[in-house]
Symmetry: C2
Subunit: 213 residues, 2 copies
């Protein structure tokens, strides 16, 4: 017998895990306000009381989901930024790391961004749970400025380059409903497009940064 792909349906898993897995699906797709505790309970094969037994309140459950969804990714990115790679390799590595995390769970980007927009105070909480993030950003900025000074890349501000990398990488997940309709793409065709971003995005960025000969 094949294992169910969704942990929420795996009756073997410990109760807390089943709840978290079910909660993820609902919070990612409907947000904090839109999700319903009884639906989460049903998907986890339990009733509402158990949710409150394991996680005191809806907000606590939401916090657990949000943290679980973002933490490993944040830590990877900081590690990457602190690492020894030269700028262009860091860019490529970031794109690949992002796609590896998000392709299996394509709702995460919208979930993260809308949560941070609706509750900006959570950004502070997240940073507090991300050691060395400030050092990572400073190293990024420094290495962009150095590359510019050395003439390796065209002049660009670190904020703008970071924005460009991020925007190009996540747009496919955020604008999915729009892009599939506009270009009339099947789910399979769209999955292929997302996979192509792995090469398309770094190539686009590195071309844009290439200085005149």
């Amino acid at each position: 017998m094949a294992r169910p792909t969704n942990a929420a349906l795996d009756q073997q898993a410990p109760t807390a895990e089943r709840i978290l897995a079910a909660a993820r699906d609902h919070f990612r797709q409907k947000g904090l306000a839109g999700a319903r505790m009884h639906e989460i309970a049903a998907d986890a094969g339990l009733n509402k009381a158990m949710l409150h037994y394991y996680f005191r309140s809806k907000e606590d459950l939401f916090d657990a989901v949000f943290r679980h969804d973002t933490e490993p990714f944040r830590l990877s990115v900081v590690a990457l930024m602190l690492g020894p790679l030269p700028l262009r390799d860091k860019i490529t590595a970031f794109v690949n790391t992002y796609l590896d995390f998000v392709l299996p769970q394509p709702h995460i980007p919208v979930f993260m961004l809308t949560t941070l927009t609706q509750f900006p105070e959570r950004m502070g909480v997240m940073m507090a749970q991300t050691p060395n993030y400030r050092k990572g950003v400073e190293l990024w900025s420094a290495s962009v400025r150095e590359a510019v000074a050395r003439g390796e890349i065209r002049p660009i501000e670190p904020v703008h380059l970071w924005q460009n990398v991020l925007g190009l990488t996540l747009i496919g997940f955020i604008a999915r409903p729009m892009l599939t309709r506009l270009f009339d793409l099947s789910p399979e065709a769209y999955a292929a497009v997302l996979e192509q971003r792995r090469h398309e995005v770094p190539a686009f960025i590195l071309n844009a940064l290439r200085p005149d000969a």
Copy 2:
């Protein structure tokens, strides 16, 4: 006496307008599920009953807001795509059109994208309210392919180029909470960054597309 900037507070405006203006603020920031009818009513200087008198239900009110927020922009973009400009000018014009629409109302991008993610069926409704959108997309794709064939730009698929233009243009509005914290930018400094996108984005794209000499 200066006119209040927010139409919701303008006691002179017709009631329906005041409701819509107040509703926009709430739906943009909290979404359909998170917004509260009595809060919208209070901001419009009315009570809940009036909201239901003018707009039968919460969903109807939401639809009106969503349409109002997206329609003029959609129509502009289609007009632009159907127009006579060469590809590179179309890209620049798109960026500027987008920024003109969104800079004064920076919550719109997240509002639009989360709405379409949570209720993908609305994409169909939107398309039905956007005449010639299909022709616009086809013309875009054709002109990208022609430019590639003529060697004016590096080879790239139309979906990818469209994605890149969109991602680079809207990321600043979507990732605002993240970027301001990471790079420690004041609201004024961040506003300046967004304004710089007007030049930064087209320059980045045109560099990326530049074929080898």
